[in-house]
């Protein structure tokens, strides 16, 4: 029997595709976000509110990952932004090679910000780099306040955590301070925003964060 030192990342093919994507996004000066959350926490609804708030100011586009249906891409196209749907057919996450293939097949045009909305899942998407500038984890108040510690990987890797459906806070047991403490323990330098697409709470802060990060990326790449 022969023993061999391998020392290679398990997802090296995905990482290579992510590097290609990152170079492409650097060249096009596009800020790219990878949005991860459980199903139904409001990723597409946050994007709809973002499109409405930033209409005419930034060129936005989206890649939507879902197991089935074009529904999410349709919702965003209805607001006038280019959106491409990747149907994973059962796979629980997006792979960088799928994103690369989608962009090669469907040019979304010049963009300031590209949102990659991952398949609704708090676990599997965590491991896959998609060439994004940063990951965003969404947590709706109806999911319960224990989620960051129950799903530590995504909340540790997401630079920004967005609490959604804050308009429902009076009706659910969800202690924001506890969630803040959990997220801070997993990602001390991270940002936590509290939003409601219904009332508009926090949407201004979220859009300001996008504009700041876009300006920072362009200043660094200039």
């Amino acid at each position: 029997m022969t023993q061999v030192d391998v020392r290679q990342r398990i997802l090296s093919d995905n990482a290579a595709a992510a590097t290609t994507l990152r170079e492409r996004f650097a060249a096009s000066r596009t800020l790219v976000l990878n949005l991860v959350s459980s199903p139904g926490s409001g990723k597409t609804t946050l994007l709809e509110a973002t499109v409405r708030a930033l209409a005419g100011r930034l060129r936005l586009g989206a890649i939507e990952g879902d197991i089935a249906t074009e529904r999410d891409a349709d919702r965003l196209r209805a607001l006038g932004i280019p959106a491409h749907q990747i149907l994973t057919g059962g796979s629980c996450h997006l792979d960088a090679r799928q994103v690369r293939g989608a962009l090669e097949a469907h040019d979304l045009g010049p963009l300031d910000v590209l949102f990659i909305e991952n398949v609704g899942n708090l676990v599997c998407p965590t491991s896959y780099d998609l060439g994004e500038d940063f990951k965003v984890a969404l947590l709706s108040v109806t999911e319960g306040e224990d989620k960051p510690f129950k799903y530590p990987s995504i909340f540790a890797k997401a630079e920004v955590t967005v609490v959604t459906k804050a308009d429902l806070l009076p009706y659910v047991s969800f202690r924001l301070d506890d969630v803040r403490a959990q997220v801070a323990a997993l990602r001390p330098a991270g940002t936590l925003l509290v939003t409601s697409a219904t009332t508009g709470r926090g949407i201004g802060e979220w859009c300001a964060l996008l504009e700041q990060r876009l300006a920072a990326k362009r200043a660094a790449g200039a």
Binding site: M1, T2, Q3, V4, D5, V6, R7, Q8, R9, I10, L11, S12, D13, N14, S91, C92, H93, D95, V123, C124, T126, S127, Y128, F149, P152, S153, I154, A156, K157, A181, Q182, A184, A185, L186, R187, P188
Partner: protein, 122 residues
Amino acid sequence: MHELNLATEIHRTCRATIDARGGGRLDVARVAIGELAAVEPELLVYAWEAVVAAGADAGARLEVEWHPARQTCPKCGEVKDREAGIWLRLCPECGRPLRVEGGDELDVIELSYTADGEEQAT
């Protein structure tokens, strides 16, 4: 349930390594999995068994080396008394926010294989 995808990638990496050295049968693959890698080691082993079952590497073992994440205090040093799966909100000694280090390992470390012709020779 992305463990099947990971198991497939581990096997592909092992095959490429062995084939580059002239071919052979995989005996053991050793991987490092971090606590924050979002991977369940037991499911990874089940997925591995399914991936190798039908081919020439049937019976090859997957050994998982588990790497916990560390929560450390900038003032008191490493916090050692954290149980697996339990996260501390603040440093129990001084109440300061903790840093999270490591735990994102997702690597093929090494493998053992029997080279083609080796069994007949010995």
